[in-house]
Every structure is written in structure tokens, then in C-alpha cells.
């Protein structure tokens, strides 16, 4: 199946600091999605990126899709305690979603 590698596995930041998680694939992706899972919760869709080099913003969150469509990143500016959770990228391969291992974000107030 589709392999997507996600780093880092964990990230601890002080509230107000920035955070970035990266997703890499060995093959070209048709699109990539990002999900957030709060502790004890279920994954919730954040965004989908389709075009090469695409950049999308949602308030403090910035999502990028690489030019070669093999990597993606999620950047959070000035983290807040509400950002705590695990962020997953998901590669869409013929409508099957293969999830990365996730980056668990902890934000210290």
C-alpha cells in the first residue's frame, strides 16, 4: 500500500511557539489530506491539497503541497493549548486513504 512517512513523532512546544509537521512519500501523490485527532477523539478532516506547490491557510494553520507532489507540511503559528492533539497526513491512492504515523503535539501553557 501507499507509504507516507511523517515526522516528527512527538513535539512539545511552549504556548506561542510555532509547530511544523512533515509528510513524505516515495511516490507521487494524487492529493494529500490532513486530519487532527484530539486525545480520546477521532480523526477530523482539516484540508485537502491537490495541486503541485499548493498553499492553503486556515487561520494560524498553513498547509503546503510540494512541487513534486511527494511531500507536504502543516505549520501552526503561535500555538495555543487548543492545538493539542495528533496531526495526521493521509495519502489518497485511488480513494483509499493511507495515514501517516502522526505527529503528537503537546502545548505547555
Amino acid at each position: 500500500g501507499q507509504q507516507v512517512m511523517q515526522i516528527p513523532q512527538y513535539q512539545h512546544v511552549q504556548e506561542g511557539e510555532d509547530f511544523t509537521t512533515y509528510c513524505n512519500s516515495s511516490t507521487t501523490l494524487s492529493n494529500i489530506q490532513w486530519y487532527k485527532q484530539r486525545p480520546g477523539g477521532h480523526p477530523v478532516f482539516l484540508i485537502q491539497l491537490v495541486k503541485s506547490g499548493e498553499v492553503k491557510k486556515q487561520k494560524r494553520l498553513t498547509f503546503q503541497f510540494g512541487e513534486a507532489k511527494k511531500n507536504s507540511s502543516l505549520h501552526i503559528t503561535a500555538t495555543q493549548t487548543t492545538d493539542v492533539g495528533t496531526y495526521f497526513c493521509a495519502a489518497n491512492n485511488f480513494n483509499k486513504f493511507y495515514f501517516g504515523s502522526g505527529t503528537k503535539l503537546n502545548v505547555k501553557p
Binding site: 500500500g1 477521532h42 485537502q48 495526521f88 480513494n95 483509499k96 502522526g102
Partner: protein, 115 residues
């Protein structure tokens, strides 16, 4: 507010027993996924249906797991016999695929513990 509904939310069972997990996808969604989440393996895709037809169940241990969609409002995942290593959170997700944006909407999950 449309949502994916999974039952039961929690299940504790003894090794060797049969376990059935149920999922009601969002009305109108044509695709249903079953995922298993563990600390070690993360989110693993077990099976995937489109328009009720099983398209891929290669992620599932075939000898003990089975997934079905008896109708458009119900998907089931069955484990028989269950083993302690099956302990995990099982998520069902549904979505509309084939029309561009293809996000998956997840249910709350079934936390399975096999003792």
C-alpha cells in the same frame, strides 16, 4: 448534524469470543472504510467498500476478520475468534469518493479489549 455512528463504544470480551462492531455511515455517502488504531501501528486501513461492494480488504487478517455491508445504512466488522492482539480502537469512516474532494468522516470508534 450528520455523523457516522458506531456501536458499541466500548467492548470487553474474552479471548475466543466473537465480536461484531457496527457502523451507520452518513446518508448519501458512497464509501465506507474500516480502520484500526493502536499505539504501535497507528491507523491501519482494514477494509473499504464503495457502493456497498467490497473493493479492498487486504489489510484485514482473513482467517478471523470479516467485513460486510448488508445494506446502505449498515456496515459490520466481525472478529471470530477474537485474540488479545486484536485489542485496539476500531474506526469506521464514510465519504463521497469519485467527485474530487474525498474527505473521510470518522465515527467515534469502538474501543475493543480482548482479555
Amino acid at each position: 448534524d450528520a455523523r457516522v455512528t458506531q456501536t458499541p463504544r466500548d467492548k470487553v470480551t474474552e479471548m475466543g469470543q466473537e465480536v461484531t462492531m457496527r457502523c451507520q455511515p452518513i446518508l448519501g455517502h458512497n464509501t465506507v472504510f474500516w480502520y484500526r488504531q493502536t499505539m504501535m501501528q497507528g491507523l491501519e486501513l482494514l477494509a473499504y467498500f464503495r457502493n456497498r461492494a467490497p473493493l479492498d480488504d487486504s489489510g484485514m487478517p482473513k482467517d478471523r476478520f470479516s467485513a460486510e455491508m448488508p445494506d446502505a445504512t449498515l456496515a459490520t466488522l466481525k472478529i471470530q475468534p477474537s485474540e488479545p492482539r486484536d485489542s485496539a480502537v476500531y474506526f469506521c469512516a464514510s465519504g463521497i469518493t469519485g467527485v474530487g474532494r474525498t474527505e473521510a468522516f470518522f465515527g467515534q470508534g469502538t474501543r475493543l479489549t480482548v482479555v
